[in-house]
Symmetry: C2
Subunit: 219 residues, 2 copies
């Protein structure tokens, strides 16, 4: 689920850069920008603040991008491109609806865990600018594909029909999107395990299903 287009090379932070140099690659500039957007809000973050955080000059940032909006567009592209990329993978196209749904949701968790600050930025968008509205439109289109898979799986009879389809989709996304609030990348819980846990809880529920209907009867 790592996007092949995503460069993981990073220039060293800090160091002996002088103003005007280009000590960071675009990914590092984006990383800093996204953290600042998430912390202060996009509107409240100036290019000057970003330059300060990078320990460089504004002109060094303009070497990579045309401005703040360009940074936002590229950051959102990374989150959306990662999510949309799942939809064209074989696992999302082949198999039964419930299998495809499981594959796509697992993939969404992995993109979220891999690019946590980028997806956080996407999830907190309010649609104040054209760039934000376009991103929200793409996110809605992604959600719409999931909703379609949920519908198909209900028709197939593998997804429960006693909960409204719309509510099902919202609860699934509620659970998945909440990960940005608590998941700490690099900790004991790996992205793969996290994805496994989410899929287990979402599809199978937290209850042990071979337990008797009245659980107390079993203990």
């Amino acid at each position: 689920m790592n996007q092949p287009s995503k460069s993981t090379s990073r220039a060293p932070r800090g160091g002996n850069g002088r103003a005007g140099r280009v000590p960071y690659d675009l990914d590092a500039v984006l990383d800093i920008a996204v953290l600042a957007f998430n912390e202060f809000g996009y509107e409240a973050t100036s290019m000057g603040v970003l330059a300060e955080r990078l320990g460089t000059s504004k002109s060094a940032i303009y070497y990579h991008v045309t401005g703040k909006e360009d940074l936002l567009r590229r950051a959102l592209e990374r989150a959306l491109g990662g999510l949309e990329g799942i939809l064209s993978e074989p696992g999302a196209l082949e198999g039964s609806p419930v299998e495809r749904l499981r594959y796509v949701l697992r993939g969404a968790v992995l993109v979220l865990a891999d690019d946590l600050p980028y997806v956080t930025l996407l999830l907190r968008l309010r649609g104040n600018t054209e760039v934000e509205r376009e991103a929200l439109e793409r996110r809605r289109a992604f959600d719409h594909v999931i909703a379609g898979l949920v519908d198909e799986a209900r028709v197939e009879g593998t997804l429960r029909a006693d909960v409204d389809a719309r509510t099902t989709v919202r609860l699934l996304f509620g659970m998945i999107n909440s990960i940005v609030e608590w998941y700490k990348p690099g900790g004991a819980l790996t992205p793969d395990q996290l994805a496994e846990d989410v899929i287990t809880v979402a599809f199978e529920g937290v209850r042990v299903h071979d337990a008797a209907p009245v659980p107390t009867a079993r203990v």
Copy 2:
């Protein structure tokens, strides 16, 4: 799950109040304050803005409360009091751990749906002031009780042990807390049905469990 202490009487909105009058009861003042805090943030909301929204004077608000912090304290008390109240109900104290867990989570959804803006305010707290930190402490204590029930239910064997207890709690709360992002009170989905749906999805999962392990074999 409606809190008996919660007055539902409301003075009419708008109308012919003149400045200095006390045209609203405390609940109506709180309602307006909470909506404003959620929209603009607590720090950015002045008593003047609140008075304007109420169509009254600041002194009319001071008739009810000692100031903005008092409004915040009372608003958070309503959300927290509602949640904590569940824990002393018979359903939360009697029965097996999994039954008590189900009862408490269902109750939390109902409080959330009943007092949506109040719980939204609670969930978005950052802990910037003493009042906020105290509220966060009480929220953590509530979450801690849930975590204890999850632990007990795992020991009992009714809750799955193949997902980490901490992750289980976070995913359950992730699903429940996300409701503030999309639920519209007064619509077709009643609080009772919402609570039922959340409990079904959380405990039983979205998959139909009498389906064959490989769902395609069934269609």
